[in-house]
């Protein structure tokens, strides 16, 4: 069963069609897959599974997952309505993954990289001890092998069930990227819908280039928390990618169809002594670059 047919928003009864969450058009699933899960009509970017993301970015046969065996040890013996351990087991079942990030080594159109992809299906992509550790090990590995780092974020933030330890992952991961920066290896950070809380407020904002997919919710505080604070409804588009571009927080908005080519261009720019040819023919001129300008702040 494909990922998107599982989403609660896909209310079309058959597995052949998926309803777009934005324009409500019914899209033939095969078409959606071909379009990298972007609505052909309105451009809405559906959330992508880890395997689909790796599939679209990493050269076939080049992917080597690392540290896939790390698992949480429930340091707080945390229990809310259900216990953390139970919640984790349920997440494992639901997502068919062991944790909220998958890390590994792979090539992007021939360019070696160290890559992390968040898994929103696993407890909302939240960052606890394992996510933090996996990111640091990824960076360590990148430094060892002189690879650039790419992280595709999709996360609700720190994982409450690990309390202050998950808060500390913000420090742990950020300082790892500080070391990466010291050796002048590039970090490309891609923010996808949604990226909030402790992930936004740590490593994911520290990319040499920070880019976002169109329409992604990106922020520190979640919209509901803000609305409770200010006792007002947030304006349309607040904390969306286009808003972050207009506010100077992110560098660019990249459509999913342009992502791989853009990453290649960036890697070619940052990596020393690679005799590469320009690949400008493949992608349009800085698409959406000014889309945010129309937004009224």
């Amino acid at each position: 069963m494909g990922w998107f047919t599982k989403t609660k928003e896909s209310i079309v009864p058959t597995n052949l069609w998926t309803k777009c969450q934005k324009c409500e058009d019914a899209i033939y699933n095969k078409d959606l897959e071909k379009s990298l899960h972007v609505c052909p009509k309105c451009g809405y970017h559906f959330r992508l599974s880890v395997s689909a993301r790796i599939g679209m970015l990493v050269d076939e046969g080049s992917w080597n997952e690392i540290d896939g065996h790390l698992r949480t040890a429930d340091p707080l013996q945390f229990k809310a309505l259900t216990s953390y351990s139970e919640r984790v087991e349920r997440a494992v079942d639901k997502s068919q993954a062991l944790e909220a990030i998958t890390t590994g080594l792979g090539n992007i159109d021939g360019r070696p990289a160290a890559i992390g992809v968040f898994n929103f299906a696993f407890m909302g992509g939240s960052m606890g001890s394992v996510v933090g550790e996996k990111i640091v090990r990824l960076v360590d590995r990148a430094i060892e092998e002189s690879r650039p780092v790419l992280v595709v974020s999709c996360s609700g933030g720190a994982r409450m069930d690990e309390g202050v330890l998950s808060l500390m992952q913000m420090v742990k991961t950020s300082q790892a990227f500080s070391r990466l920066s010291d050796v002048r290896l590039p970090f490309l950070s891609v923010l996808t819908d949604p990226t909030t809380g402790g992930v936004t407020a740590s490593f994911s904002m520290l990319g040499d280039v920070v880019m976002a997919e169109p329409g992604a919710l990106i922020g520190f505080a979640g919209p509901r928390v803000i609305e409770q604070t200010i006792k007002e409804t947030l304006p349309e588009g607040f904390q969306r990618s286009e808003f972050l571009l207009a506010t100077g927080v992110i560098d660019m908005i990249v459509r999913r169809s342009d992502l791989k080519a853009t990453l290649c261009r960036l890697l070619d720019f940052f990596l020393p002594a690679r005799a590469v040819k320009a690949i400008s023919s493949e992608i349009p001129e800085t698409a959406d670059a000014d889309a945010g300008a129309a937004l009224t702040l």
Binding site: A73, Q175, V225, L297
Partner: protein, 321 residues
């Protein structure tokens, strides 16, 4: 003094003792026996209450309106404080204060969250909840400290980063991330003291130091008990349970090896004896500073890195599923 629920019986006892004393004085009756008995009872009761606080009670003490605030500690612990407002970023954020001072005779840079004492002050201080400019001001001051080789004292006391529209607009997340990254590079000792509330990203943005000290009745957490309760229990009134589950007290954090030292408070909390408290805080800071100043900055940075590198608990199954 504002009364916390769990302090009710203590305050009742205190009141009774005062009444007996007035009575004795006014009517020349000898009630010393009764007073002595009640006083002993009070002391025992106090000891019982404050050495067995629940996490939720601790959270209430941590937020006690009479609890000493950052500027109180600065005044008590340092001399010659000169506040510097220029974060060079619009506007000046009053929820974070900082400047130059002398601690035990030596020049230091101090930064810290500043709450207010009353409504007016709290509005001015935004209840100790920073906007991006607050972190950037703190960072500028920390870089100034680094430039002139002065250690940094950072006082943590915030409900968290301000969850407002302008804060988001002006890059709250990036400001916090930037601070954390830059703090991992600052080549002078950073001593952090959690004096009240250590609220999530807003706390860690000036909290990633070499030594993290924490007052006995302070809290430090990834989310407020109320926030946690409303998300995980779907019921904000479960804050008491959430507080316990979150392991947010100084003793918890000592167990989790997130802090380096717990500073014991006088019986009844820091606000009942600010002088003793600040004396103890001063001693603790002094000890850690001495230790940290003995290191080269390379050692310092390596140890700081290792400290946070180790944080987190996980297992490695050699044959993953």
């Amino acid at each position: 003094m504002k009364e916390l629920p769990f302090e009710h019986h203590l305050l009742e006892l205190e009141k009774k003792i005062d009444e007996l004393k007035s009575l004795s004085k006014a009517h020349f009756i000898d009630l010393s026996q009764e007073i002595q008995t009640l006083t002993a009872k009070l002391e025992k009761s106090k000891a019982e209450t404050y050495s067995n606080l629940t996490a939720w009670q601790t959270a209430q003490l941590a937020r006690h309106p009479r609890r000493p605030l950052t500027l109180d500690y600065i005044a008590a612990l340092t001399e010659d404080f000169l506040e510097l407002h220029g974060g060079r970023q619009w506007p000046d954020d009053h929820s974070i204060v900082g400047g130059l001072a002398r601690f035990q005779g030596e020049p230091v840079v101090v930064v810290g969250h500043q709450k207010g004492r009353d409504t007016k002050e709290n509005i001015h201080r935004n209840f100790g909840m920073p906007h991006p400019e607050g972190y950037r001001k703190a960072l500028r001051l920390m870089k100034l400290a680094e430039k002139f080789d002065r250690p940094i004292l950072s006082f943590i006391d915030t409900p968290g980063a301000y969850p407002g529209m302008e804060a988001e607009e002006r890059g709250q997340a990036e400001a916090i991330a930037r601070n954390i990254l830059e703090m991992s590079r600052i080549r002078v000792p950073i001593v952090v003291i959690v004096i009240g509330e250590g609220g999530s990203g807003g706390a860690v943005a000036i909290g990633a130091g070499d030594a993290v000290l924490m007052l006995e009745h302070a809290i430090y957490s990834v989310i407020s008990p109320e926030g946690c309760a409303s998300i995980l229990w779907k019921d904000a009134s479960k804050a008491e349970e959430a507080a316990r589950a979150l392991k947010l007290t100084a003793r918890d954090l000592l167990d989790l090896q997130v802090i380096d030292e717990m500073i014991t408070e006088p019986l009844g909390g820091a606000h009942r004896d600010p002088k003793t408290t600040s004396g103890d805080v001063s001693d603790a800071i002094g000890r850690h500073l001495e230790r940290l100043r003995a290191m080269t900055s390379d050692e310092l940075l390596r140890l700081r890195y290792d400290k946070y590198r180790r944080m987190g608990v996980y297992t490695e199954k050699v044959n993953g599923e």
